[in-house]
Symmetry: C2
Subunit: 223 residues, 2 copies
DNA sequence: GATCGTTTCATACAAACGTTTGAATTGCAA
DNA sequence: TTGCAATTCAAACGTTTGTATGAAACGATC
């Protein structure tokens, strides 16, 4: 059995297991059982459990960023170098939503792994997570070009809150389904994406939303 | 040393430790060291580690729900039994935001524990989490009274997405601060609350937002 | 002050974890 | 075929974990 086969089997099994369970709950023995390899193979090929998870995280992160940036670039190219705000937001949030919720894509393990990695924190991940900020900065710059008049804080808030809605929708699928008794269709990725995008765009294009929020904040300082 | 003192010391220490670290990373030995009690005291007073965490979770959950419902009731009483949409949303999201972000409240351990419990899942917690759905239902009903014309799905989505923005803002404080280089003030609880509430209200009061999202969803079915 | 239930304590236990070891096996080059 | 490096394997190691035990200390009641 070739070495590459073992490496790949471990990566695939670990990604799938970690997509559904907490990192701490997934043991090396679970992984090697699912991959049909020997226990020592993980430390032989990857050095440690954390290093294995880090490798999966990096690979998934690169794949996700590539998909996002391709969508952003497509929108910019179609608009003579300038993408609309809704296009920037869609490029940011749609890939993960589709990877995690779309039944046609059989719920990609890579996407679900990313969602879990965004919650759990292994010390080794901190360096990688800093790169995520750099990645977001490119979307912030695209958004600033789309809305030159907006305050920087409003731009950052819109990107953050759109991501927040997308991530938590993925995390809270069960609760939302139960709460709405099925009225909210969690498989309708297009509908969910447009709901989040339109909310963010409305907030960004509303008149002086930042100043109004600040004023309201001051007036309701009590309670 | 009285028994109640030991119980209270354990509860306090465990809550504080679990507010800052993952449940799995907080060991019984960490807790007893912080509480200055014997190792066996935890199993003697609470039965098991999970039971201890469950007791903290229930207590924190009750406290949070009480605070939310008090705010909702105050708004309903002030409006002859009918609260405005923004008041319903504020009652839902402000307590946790304030407990976790407000520096004046010295970042309540109870609130941060709740945020962590919403992410981590101990088997014992599942029953308690079902109660959270019942709790949310009361806000859904209040919202339906405020907006009789809205589709149920829109109501549920608005509550879910408002909660999503609040929770992830708390979780991503570090990333948003770094991304915005301080331009986003994470200590301005009033400003953050109003930003989230106004976005949700706009989505709820926009004309036929549900149908428009569905239409847009169909038109962008590609990509 | 003796008694008895309650609480504390030091200590031990069994299980599970990630990791290591050294021998066995494989696959390829000479 | 021989030789050698790469890989696989069963087994064990040392920690750490939550939990259990039994004796000691405590505190109220009579």
């Amino acid at each position: 059995m070739s070495s590459d086969h073992t490496r790949h089997a471990i990566l695939t099994a670990a990604e799938r297991l970690c997509a559904d369970n907490s990192f701490g709950d997934v043991t090396l023995r679970d992984i090697v059982a699912a991959a049909n390899v020997n226990l020592a193979a993980i430390n032989y090929h990857f050095g440690s459990k954390d290093a294995l998870l880090a490798e999966i995280y990096i690979a998934s992160s690169i794949a996700l960023n590539r998909e996002r940036l391709a969508a952003l670039k497509a929108a910019e190219d179609a608009g003579q170098g300038r993408a609309r705000p809704d296009e920037v937001l869609r490029a940011l949030i749609e890939p993960l939503l589709r990877g995690c919720l779309d039944p046609d894509r059989q719920r990609s393990a890579s996407s679900r792994f990313m969602i879990r990695a965004s919650t759990e924190s292994i010390p080794t991940f901190r360096r990688i997570k800093n790169k995520e900020v750099d990645h977001l900065r490119r979307f912030a710059e695209a958004m600033k070009r789309a809305l030159p008049g907006r305050a920087d804080a409003d731009i950052y808030w819109s990107l953050h809150l759109a991501l927040a809605m997308a991530h938590q929708t993925i995390n809270d699928v069960e609760r939302l389904t139960k709460l709405s008794d099925g009225a909210c269709d969690l498989a309708d990725v297009d509908g969910i994406t447009e709901r989040i995008v339109s909310m963010s765009v409305m907030a960004l294009t509303a008149n002086a939303s930042s100043e109004r929020a600040a004023a309201k904040s001051a007036s309701t300082r009590r309670k």
